[in-house]
């Protein structure tokens, strides 16, 4: 898309339709493209240089989420236009590629992980660094993917604590990231 500086002389891509919560934190260099609706919930943090692409399906991101830089959210090629839902308290780490249909509450998608098209992630999952979830895969709640495609179910029962930690992280990021909400409205 027209994200790099070189293309910027060409007429800018039309702004994608958005519904942005007033308490959202979004960096100036975040990239929101596409024609479908992008909805971002309250207290969510979108880092600079995050790419949200709604060319093929709408994107809905809940409250208290952290979407890190260089992550790519949204379908990258045509698929069903059912749209994609990221629930509350989800953390998408640097460089992750998310094309899932839905991601459950409190999940963490680690650095450079890949979630295949139309995959469904349950609640409080953790996709380890560089791990991949296949297309159309359904990952049950509390699943932890780690290492070389190993899986286990996390029964530690501290998900509330983790959600609190995410909220705390959002608080700090709010102070660190220069907000430019107006640009995307």
């Amino acid at each position: 898309m027209s994200s790099s500086k070189r293309v910027s002389t060409a007429p800018a891509a039309p702004k994608s339709p958005t519904v942005l919560a007033p308490t959202l934190v979004i960096g100036e260099h975040a990239v929101l493209t596409g024609t479908y609706l992008i909805t971002l919930g309250s207290n969510t943090v979108v880092h600079p240089r995050t790419k949200l692409n709604s060319t093929y399906a709408p994107i809905t991101i809940g409250n208290n989420c952290i979407i890190s830089e260089r992550s790519i959210i949204g379908l990258q090629s045509p698929g069903s236009d059912q749209g994609m839902t990221i629930e509350n308290g989800v953390v998408v780490e640097v460089g992750a590629i998310v094309e899932a249909k839905s991601i459950g509450e409190g999940s963490i998608i680690e650095v450079n992980a890949k979630i295949g098209k139309h995959a469904v992630l349950g609640k409080h999952c953790k996709i380890g660094p560089m791990c991949e979830v296949g297309e159309h895969e359904i990952v049950p709640d509390f699943t932890v993917l780690f290492g070389n495609g190993m899986r286990r179910i996390d029964r530690s029962g501290v998900e509330d604590l983790k959600l609190k930690m995410v909220a705390r992280q959002v608080e700090i990021l709010r102070k660190l990231i220069p907000n430019n909400l107006a640009k995307f409205k």
Partner: protein
């Protein structure tokens, strides 16, 4: 066939110095020239034994007293320091002997994914983030940040956030306490006291006494079973032969004790008092009878439980082979896994096996990576690098993919690390050993390499005369002229390096063709191409000699020899085999 990087491996001469008898039995069947004397034989890089004597130069050390290359096989390792790689705590070797080679503080690895575990409180502290830093707060668990495993899953919690190792040693998976060896011993002593004090105790009476403390039918884990068995047989031995009680106490033979000495003497003098006594006492020994004595009876239904568990919990509850390997005891299920204490690491000093001089010695402190002594071969013998002579042709994929039967030239660059001028002689067999005989010619087998002097000094000395000019001349020839290497002449020369040309005619890798064209070996076993047989490896015998300045000793780093006569320049010589992997032969 991916990318090929040329390599130069050096043979450590220690493999030659073994007694001749070693070579008779296990001589490789491939070697044709087994009847030859060791010195005359061409080193065969494909011989199975060659694998164990070839090293890249970086792995080799150099003993300055023996004036010889030293490989990992001919040095002795000495442990300088034990330390934990996680907390970098230096563990005294006495502790290693008594406690084993694991960190005994709080360093653990996750049994599921081997990531380091961290200690954290179970109680959600009201202040959230700071909860881990505060010493208050209820029980603690070990947590894996990577796979979210926590010791809560195996039912283990700790009272204190430090000294986890000691706490873990007392808890079984599930939270039951482990009866430690010391407690068992105490219990045993108590029992013995009771039995000896009590009047006329029969076997049943003893049994009742024990039941009060420990269950004689309890199922022991491997460690406590061993300690029980050991204690039992020690006491049996002590009872069976009171004269030699001294000898066997503590599992030590203790040859120093007078009792043991007289017993040993008795062996030679043909029976004495000690011998008779011990004989008369024989037959008092009995075997272990219950769990307290370390006996575990395998019940016929013991496996049913495991099968049941497998059926109910399924495949996911079983531990993988990797996970099992990390455990100290055999475990089948994930719930039986225990956190792995970090294995200690060592810093080692290396000594020459023949003269016992130290070749490498690191600083004993864990945090420093410096070495006090490090005599690496890289500083003492010329290194060899390989480059293709002709530039890469457009169609060519890699310069190191050579076409069969087409003469190909390579540049061998020798770099001299010494502060003296060295003379180098190199020799190769006309044909490489192995099934495919490649023809090899070194165009300039004899040359001199300049000293590794200071670059600044060199620049100052330059001016009119010098090597630089010669270098320029040869270089000019190469670029404008016929682009051909001349026999007997060095290709290019620098301050402390020389490159010479070696020409190779790779053999064809096909097995077709008339019999007379094939080598003996090919006729013998025929068949397909073996693994890596297409790699073009050239054995090269390198002989280096130079005149070391005896007075120059300290600064030159060449000690030993010429102690009295400091003015005399000493001639040094070093000869060794190298193997150059120059490329892969293309297959049609």
């Amino acid at each position: 066939m991916s990318t090929f990087m040329p390599y130069a491996y050096f043979q450590c001469p220690c493999t030659d110095s073994f007694p001749q008898s070693r070579n008779l039995g296990d001589e490789s069947p491939v070697s044709v020239s087994s009847s030859f004397d060791q010195d005359d034989r061409t080193f065969d890089p494909r011989a199975p034994r060659a694998n164990y004597s070839l090293y890249p130069l970086e792995h080799l050390l150099y003993c300055e007293d023996c004036h010889q290359i030293r490989c990992p096989r001919c040095v002795l390792d000495e442990i300088v320091t034990w330390y934990c790689p996680n907390c970098l705590f230096e563990v005294p070797s006495s502790t290693v002997k008594s406690e084993g080679n694991r960190c005994t503080r709080s360093c653990f690895q996750c049994p599921i994914c081997i990531a380091p575990l961290s200690v954290s409180s179970v109680e959600p502290h009201p202040e959230g983030l700071g909860a881990e830093n505060l010493t208050v707060g209820g029980p603690y668990v070990l947590n894996c940040a990577h796979c979210y495993w926590s010791s809560k899953e195996i039912g283990i919690q700790f009272d204190k956030p430090n000294g986890i190792f000691a706490q873990l040693a007392k808890i079984k998976n599930g939270g039951e306490p482990i009866i430690t060896a010391r407690e068992r011993r105490k219990d045993r002593e108590e029992r013995n006291r009771d039995t000896s004090a009590g009047p006329a105790v029969d076997e049943d009476g003893v049994q009742e006494e024990r039941a009060a403390n420990l269950d004689p039918n309890e199922i022991l884990d491997a460690e406590s079973q061993f300690s029980n068995l050991k204690a039992f047989y020690q006491s049996q031995l002590a009872e069976a032969s009171p004269t030699s009680a001294l000898t066997f106490s503590g599992g030590d033979y203790g040859y120093g004790s007078p009792g043991a000495l007289s017993r040993i003497m008795g062996l030679y003098t043909g029976g004495s008092f000690a011998d008779k006594k011990s004989k008369s006492k024989k037959g008092m020994m009995r075997e272990a009878q219950d769990a307290l004595e370390g006996l575990q009876i395998v019940s016929p239904t013991s496996e049913d439980e495991i099968i049941n568990r497998l059926q109910t919990e399924g495949w996911d509850s079983t531990a993988s082979t990797v996970q099992k390997d990390e455990q100290s005891t055999y475990t089948r299920f994930i719930n039986d896994l225990r956190p792995i204490a970090h294995l200690l690491r060592t810093k080692r000093a290396k000594r020459c096996k023949t003269c016992r001089h130290i070749l490498s010695k690191p600083e004993p402190k864990v945090q420093t990576t410096r070495f006090r002594i490090r005599l690496v071969a890289l500083n003492c013998i010329p290194s060899i690098s390989i480059n293709p002579l002709s530039p890469l042709l457009p169609g060519q994929k890699s310069a190191f993919l050579v076409t069969p039967l087409k003469p190909t030239q390579f540049l061998l660059t020798f770099t001299n690390p010494l502060f003296e001028i060295v003379k180098v002689n190199i020799a190769t067999p006309a044909q490489t050993p192995g099934r495919f005989a490649n023809k090899v010619t070194v165009l300039c087998p004899q040359f001199e390499i300049g000293a590794n002097t200071d670059a600044w000094e060199e620049a100052l000395r330059e001016g009119s005369k010098g090597i630089e000019r010669e270098k320029r001349r040869t270089k000019a020839e190469a670029t404008e002229g016929q682009h051909q290497a001349e026999a007997g002449k060095v290709w290019e020369r620098g301050r402390n390096w020389v490159s010479v040309v070696v020409e190779v005619v790779p053999a064809s890798l096909s097995f077709e063709g008339p019999d007379f064209m094939k080598s003996e070996e090919m006729l013998r076993d025929g068949g397909a191409l073996r693994e890596d047989e297409d790699v073009l490896e050239i054995p090269v015998f390198v002989r280096v000699d130079w005149e070391a300045d005896a007075a120059h000793d300290e600064s030159g780093g060449l000690s030993g020899g010429g102690r009295g006569e400091s003015e005399v320049r000493e001639k040094r010589e070093l000869a060794y085999w190298c193997v150059l992997g120059v490329g892969r032969i293309a297959q049609d």
